[in-house]
Symmetry: C2
Subunit: 354 residues, 2 copies
C-alpha cells in the first residue's frame, strides 16, 4: 500500500528529533537517506520542533507551525519524547497528538531478529505488530471526582468499527506481502466483550468487505493479550502479523523488541492514507543522551520503512540490507548491543555498506 | 498479613475446579493439603461449582449457592475457567465476579525460578506481582452506540484512591517480608495522567498513612508498563515487588510466568480482608484437559500461599519446599516442563517429599 506512485521530483522530509537521543538518531537517519543518492528523488529536509524540552522552554510541546509545516512535507521522521510521569498542566504528549492530528491510524512495527555471524538464532523472530494508533485509552478522555471513599478517576476506552476495520485492512495488506500469511488478532474479549468484541469482529469482517477473496490465503488466528505476551516469550516464531488495539499494541511491540536484543533496533512507521512518519520504537533515553552512543539503527530502519511506504523500494531495500549486514558482522555496535562503538561509527558502517 | 491468628479447630476449604484442567489440578492440591497432617487443623473440603461448562449445562456460570457456601468457608481454591471469546448473552466470567463479590482486592502472584540440578540459572527470577483485583477495565462497564461511521464501543476504566491505597498497603507489607525490599509501581501515567496518575500517587501516599516510618527501608521505584514488560524480559532480576492496576497486572504476571519455564508453575491468591482464594495463574487449557498430564504444581503452590495467608506457615513452607525439590531434581515433570510424567506422578512425588 504505497502512499502514492506519483513520481515526485523532490521529496520533502520533516525532521522532528524531539527529546534526548532523538537529537542524535534523527540526524543519523537523515545522513543515511542522503547517502542513498539517486535511488530516491532529490531530498529536502525540514527541521521541526516538538517535545518536552521544547515545552519546558516555550510552554508548547507541539507548536502549530510544526503541524502546518508537516502539511507541506511528503513524510517525516520523529525521534522521541520524554514523558513526564506527573501530570503537568498544559503538557500533553506531542507524539500521541501528532498521530491523531495527522490521522496516522496505523503504527506498523516490524520486529526481526538478525543473528550475528557464528551465533545461533535459537528463537528467530520475524513478525510485525500493527497497532491501532488513534483510539483505545489513547483518546485521553479522563475525569476525576470525589466520593465518600476519596478520589475516583475514570478513563474512556473507545473502540470503533471504522478504526478497527481500517487497521484490519492495513494488516491484511501487510500479510499478503509476507511468506507465512499468518494473522493474529490480539484482544481481551473474554473480559471486554463489547469493546474488544467490536475490535475482533470488525477486523474479522474485513475479508468480507474486499473483492475477489483477496485475503483468502491469510490464516486468521486470535490470542488473548495476556497469553499473547506469554507465548511471545516462549514461542515467538508462531507470530507473523499481529494486529492489536492501541494499548495492547504498545505493550506487545515492546515485548517483541526485548526478544531481538535491543529496543534500539526496532523501527516503526505511523501511517495514514495521506502521510507517513517514521519513528524508532525506543524512547528518549535521558540516561545516555548527549553521549553519542545511542543506537541509530532503529531510526535508519524507520527511514527505510517510510521510504518503502512511499514506494521507494530499492532505496528501502538498500538501507535495510546495510543495517542487517552491520548486525550480522557484529563488529560495529553501540553499547545497548554489547558493543563499544559510537552512533557515528555505526552510521558510517551502514553508509559504507549501502 | 495473616488473615487471622485465631486458632481454628477445623479448616473449611471451598473447592471450585471450574473448567478444563481445573478438574485435574484442584483435586491434586486437595490431596497435597491432606498430606500435611497435623501442620494444619483438621480440614473439611466443600465441593462447589462454577464455570463455563456449568453455564453451558445450567445457564448459570456462578450459582448463588456457590457464593453462599463460600461464606461458610475459611478459604477456597479455584481452578480455571474457559472464557468464550464471543459475547454470549447471560455469560460473564465467574472468576472476575467472585473477586468482586468477595472483595478479594489483591491478586498476589509470586514468580520464582528454580534451576534444575546442574543447570545454570542465567536470569534468576524472584518477584511478586501484586495486582489490583476489583477495578480498572474489569469493572466491565461497557456500552455500544452507532454513529454515521458505524458502531462505537466504550468501556470505563475506573481507578480509585481507596482501592489503589489498599493494594499499595498490601504490596508494602509484602515488601517488608522480602530481603531486597524493592517496590516498583507499574503504570502508564505518561498517557493516562488522571487514572494512572491517581494510582501512582495513591500507592505512593501509603507510607505517609502508616505509623512509625514502617516502610522507610522500602525502595520505591516506578516503570511505565510497556518498558516494564521490556525490562522484565531483559533483566528480570531488577524486580522484587511489582504493584499494578488490574489489566497491567494481568499481562505482567503472564509475562513473568514465561520467564520461569511454564505457566503451570505460577500460583496466586486472591486476597481480601476476610477471605482468601488460591488460584493457579494458568487457564483451563482445553487442549490437554482430560489427559491427566496437567501440571499440578501451580495449584499446589496456590494452596501453600493460601495456607501462609491464613497463618499456617509451617504447612505452607513444607508444600513449597517439596515443590521446589521436585523442580530441582527435575526427574518427575509434566510435558509443559519438557517431562513425561502425569499429574498423578508429580503429585505423588510432591507428597513423598513433604
Ligand atoms: C511515549 C508514549 C506516549 C508512546 C505510546 O505509548 O504510544 C510510546 O510508548 C510508544 O510506544 O510510542
Ligand atoms: C480468565 C480471565 C478473566 C483472567 C483475568 O483476566 O483476570 C485471567 O487472565 C487471569 O489472569 O486470572
Amino acid at each position: 500500500r504505497a502512499l502514492s506512485t506519483v513520481a515526485r521530483s523532490k521529496l520533502r522530509v520533516g525532521l522532528i528529533p524531539g527529546d534526548g537521543i532523538g537529537a542524535e538518531v534523527i540526524p543519523a537517519a537523515r545522513r543515511a537517506i542522503e547517502a542513498l543518492g539517486s535511488d530516491i528523488p532529490k531530498t529536502e529536509f525540514v527541521d521541526l520542533e516538538a517535545g518536552f524540552e521544547l515545552f519546558a522552554r516555550s510552554g508548547d510541546a507541539l507548536p502549530e507551525e510544526t503541524v502546518e509545516a508537516l502539511g507541506e512535507c511528503d513524510c517525516a521522521l520523529f525521534g522521541a519524547v520524554s514523558s513526564p510521569i506527573k501530570k503537568i498542566t498544559g503538557y500533553s504528549s506531542p507524539i500521541v497528538a501528532l498521530r491523531k492530528k495527522l490521522d496516522l491510524y496505523a503504527n506498523v512495527r516490524p520486529v526481526v531478529s538478525v543473528a550475528a555471524k557464528g551465533a545461533e538464532d535459537t528463537k528467530p523472530v520475524d513478525l510485525v505488530v500493527v497497532r491501532e494508533n488513534t483510539e483505545c485509552l489513547y483518546v485521553k478522555q479522563e475525569s476525576q471526582t470525589t466520593s465518600e471513599r476519596g478520589k475516583e478517576a475514570r478513563a474512556i476506552r473507545l473502540i470503533t468499527e471504522y478504526a478497527s476495520q481500517r487497521i484490519g485492512k492495513m494488516a491484511f495488506e501487510l500479510a499478503l506481502g509476507r511468506p507465512r500469511q499468518v494473522f493474529t488478532i490480539i484482544h481481551k474479549s473474554n473480559v471486554l466483550s463489547v469493546t474488544d468484541g467490536l475490535f475482533r469482529e470488525s477486523v474479522r469482517s474485513v475479508p468480507r468487505l474486499v473483492e475477489n477473496g483477496r485475503y483468502d490465503n491469510v490464516k486468521i488466528e486470535e490470542q488473548i493479550v495476556d497469553s499473547a505476551v506469554y507465548r511471545l516469550f516462549r514461542e515467538p516464531q508462531i507470530y507473523d502479523v499481529m494486529v492489536a488495539p492501541n494499548l495492547y499494541g504498545d505493550i506487545i511491540s515492546d515485548a517483541a523488541a526485548a526478544l531481538v536484543g535491543s529496543l534500539g533496533l526496532v523501527p516503526s512507521i505511523n501511517a495514514g492514507d495521506n502521510f507517513v512518519m517514521g519513528e524508532p520504537v525506543h524512547g528518549s533515553a535521558p540516561d545516555i543522551a548527549g553521549q553519542g552512543i545511542a543506537n541509530p539503527l532503529a531510526s535508519i530502519r524507520s527511514a527505510a520503512l517510510m521510504l518503502r511506504h512511499l514506494g521507494y523500494t530499492s532505496g528501502a531495500d538498500r538501507l535495510e540490507r546495510a543495517v542487517n549486514e552491520v548486525l550480522y558482522e557484529a563488529q560495529v555496535l553501540t553499547p545497548d548491543m554489547g558493543g563499544k562503538s559510537k552512533t557515528q561509527d555505526v552510521l558510517d558502517e551502514v553508509i559504507r555498506r549501502l
